[in-house]
């Protein structure tokens, strides 16, 4: 696949969970060799979008396709996914965790081992491959999850907040690895809520807010479009709408939920409008 061809296409995607609308009308394309940042506040819909892109979720409407318009859930062999929770088995060693996934991808142990060793050197993890992951720090877990996602040679790497909770050195190592993958022509989707990180690592940033794409462009394009001085200002300008849950029929809560909440509403000593003094 040439560097400029479209690899991943998200077309008018909507995702509902019962009556809650998590994503609505999301459309963008990711070209081969690009590092794209998904930026948004907590609950904006980044993880849901990544799960749609990894084929764990199916869209309620619209399509997520890979390569020649093949639905992504049929092309999961081409994806490498690092979920936010890392998802390591504590009673397996780091290598056993990696080997388990690569076997399920249908990759031979020898090939997976070679690839693992290559990236383990970059992440300074060779010594830890034979250790049980039970005692691993957050950084080591994240690195192992990265190695696991890379072992089968994916076309697209999907990273859900890969530096969340990491110390400065570990976060830097992870970012270096992403840069290395980029240099080698790899495609990465990088979810984060750290703007400086997105600016450092990504060619392009997609800002998601309340389940909708608010902006899609390079960091400089976002700054110029909003007339801001920095990416942070641009982000604030684009996400002024108060974060909230979106419901299918415009209600703020479902009928059953409203009834339930009314029935079991937790008692507070004072209402939000009345001050403590007014009760005395």
């Amino acid at each position: 696949m040439s560097r400029s061809s479209t690899l991943l296409k998200v077309s008018n995607v909507r995702k509902n969970f019962a009556e809650v609308v998590a994503l609505d009308g999301v459309t963008f394309e990711i070209k081969s060799g690009e590092v794209v940042g998904l930026v948004g506040s907590n609950g904006a819909g980044k993880t849901t979008l990544l799960r749609l892109m990894s084929g764990v979720y199916r869209p309620s409407a619209g399509t997520v396709t890979l390569g020649d318009d093949t639905p992504v859930h049929l092309m999961r062999d081409s994806l490498g996914v690092v979920p936010e929770s890392t998802g390591l088995y504590s009673r397996l060693t780091a290598w056993e965790n990696i080997r388990y996934h690569s076997r399920l991808y249908g990759v031979k142990d020898k090939i997976a081992w070679k690839r693992t060793l290559k990236f383990a050197q970059s992440l300074d993890m060779e010594e830890n491959l034979s250790r049980y992951t039970k005692g691993f720090s957050r950084g080591m877990r994240q690195k192992t999850a990265l190695l696991r996602a890379l072992a089968h040679g994916p076309s697209v790497l999907l990273l859900d907040e890969p530096t969340a909770g990491l110390d400065i050195t570990s976060a830097r190592t992870v970012r270096s690895l992403v840069n290395q993958i980029k240099q080698e022509g790899g495609t990465v989707v990088y979810s984060t809520h750290q703007l400086f990180e997105a600016q450092q690592v990504c060619d392009r940033i997609i800002i998601i807010h309340n389940g909708v794409v608010k902006a899609n462009g390079s960091p400089s394009e976002l700054i110029n479009t909003t007339g801001s001085d920095s990416l942070e200002d641009a982000y604030v300008a684009l996400t002024q709408e108060k974060a909230r849950m979106r419901y299918e029929d415009g209600k703020t809560e479902s009928t059953i939920t409203r009834f339930w909440h009314r029935l079991f509403r937790p008692k507070t000593p004072y209402s939000l409008n009345s001050g403590v003094d007014s009760d005395e």
Partner: protein, 405 residues
């Protein structure tokens, strides 16, 4: 197809390896099943025996209050470690009323009091004792032993005094010859009968209970630990995932059940004489059908447990659902033990759980009845399919990826 089989095998292998590496699992699935029955049937009786021997050697103090004393009592009580106190008295109240002796017994000044009142050719008696004291209970047991012997002697004496033969009068109806020879059931059939009383029960309860922990760990546990999301992003289908996990749980459960049965047979073989339980006479057809019935039961139970655990949002929730659910197995299992197999109505072989338990009982007796086999097999396949379908449905839910953490 080959790819799919490999994936299922990879998942199952990983589940077993991961499970075995937990020492608690080894204790729950291997140590406890293999030791449970030997401890119950060997160690416990040895403990009881030593306690009984200790009681036999114990010195107890008995007071005998009487209006007439049978001299042979002294000889009979002297055969045991008993101290006797003799009190000649008259009685003008019910012998069972402790009256002033109440505190003497409660304070353990005496272990028991035997009251004997001879009147009009009859020996009236009572034993004042404290049932919560082991010494007092032992004293009472010794008194009853002496009284039984004494009563037999009086009865025999009176029969002889009446001019009758003691033996033919007291034992006018007798079995002639060896009781065992008259039973036309073979040793193998008798062994099958004994095995049919506990094997189905053990299999059913242990299959269900030993599958609980791995089922929860591999579903709600994975969900809670966040490992499920990474797994769902892999190219394997949800059905392959379910099959792999089912195979993992079934392997672990089978090992547990097998070890428990080995422990049970070892305990019985050790405790009883070697011919107490032999090898049942089973035809090849019966053996194949037994294996098939257990497999169908395991498919149903493990699939159901995986589905219920997968439905749960947390390990805690799964445990609180699957723990009490064992009642669904215990009650039918106990109920099945009392159903008479002779002339049993065929509909019993269509009821879930009961059908497999009855089938096992029948097959262990080497009763291969085509009508029953067809009913339990068809109904079990339907139940197992329904359970597997339900489990597959749970595994295909989108929200299984969400974790509480």
């Amino acid at each position: 197809m080959n790819k799919s089989v490999n994936r299922v095998k990879t998942i199952a292998k990983k589940e077993v390896v991961e499970f075995v590496r937990d020492w608690r699992t080894i204790v729950a699935i291997i140590i406890i099943p293999i030791l449970m029955f030997p401890v119950l049937f060997i160690v416990f009786p040895i403990l009881l025996e030593s306690e009984a021997a200790e009681l036999d050697a114990k010195n107890v103090t008995i007071e005998i209050q009487y209006n007439q004393y049978p001299e042979e009592f002294t000889r009979l009580f002297n055969q045991t470690s008993t101290s006797l106190l003799l009190v000649n008295t008259t009685f003008n109240h019910s012998l069972s009323e402790p009256l002033e002796d109440l505190n003497r017994i409660r304070n353990m000044e005496l272990d028991a009091i035997l009251r004997l009142n001879y009147s009009d050719e009859i020996w009236f008696y009572s034993i004042i004792h404290l049932s919560t004291s082991e010494s007092s209970t032992e004293a009472k047991t010794r008194i009853i032993g002496v009284l039984n012997y004494f009563e037999s002697n009086i009865t025999a004496q009176r029969i002889a005094d009446g001019g009758l033969d003691v033996n033919s009068t007291l034992d006018p109806l007798r079995w002639d010859g060896d009781v065992g020879r008259a039973d036309v059931a073979t040793d193998g059939e008798q062994a099958g009968l004994i095995l049919s009383l506990f094997i189905p029960l053990v299999l059913a309860i242990w299959t269900f209970s030993s599958a609980i922990q791995p089922s929860i760990d591999m579903t709600a546990g994975e969900r809670e630990r966040g490992t499920l999301e990474a797994l769902l992003g892999l190219p394997c289908t949800r059905n392959e995932l379910l099959m792999g996990k089912w195979l993992g749980v079934a392997t672990i459960t089978s090992i547990g059940v097998l070890l428990q049965i080995v422990g049970l047979l070892f305990a019985i073989g050790y405790l009883a004489s070697s011919d107490f339980i032999g090898i049942p006479d089973l035809s090849v057809t019966a053996i194949i059908l037994i294996i098939l019935s257990i497999m169908l039961f395991a498919v149903m139970v493990v699939a159901l447990e995986l589905a219920l655990a997968m439905r749960s949002h947390s390990v805690k929730e799964a445990g609180s659902i699957l723990g009490p659910a064992i009642i669904l197995i215990i009650f039918p299992a106990l109920f099945t033990q009392v159903i008479n197999l002779d002339g049993i109505e065929s509909f019993w072989f269509g009821i879930p759980v009961i059908n497999i338990l009855l089938a096992l009982r029948e097959l262990l007796l080497d009763r291969v009845i085509t009508e029953h086999i067809v009913i339990w097999m068809v109904s079990s396949v339907i139940y197992a399919t329904l359970a597997a379908y339900y489990a597959a449905k749970q595994f295909k839910r989108e929200d299984i990826v969400t974790t509480l953490s």
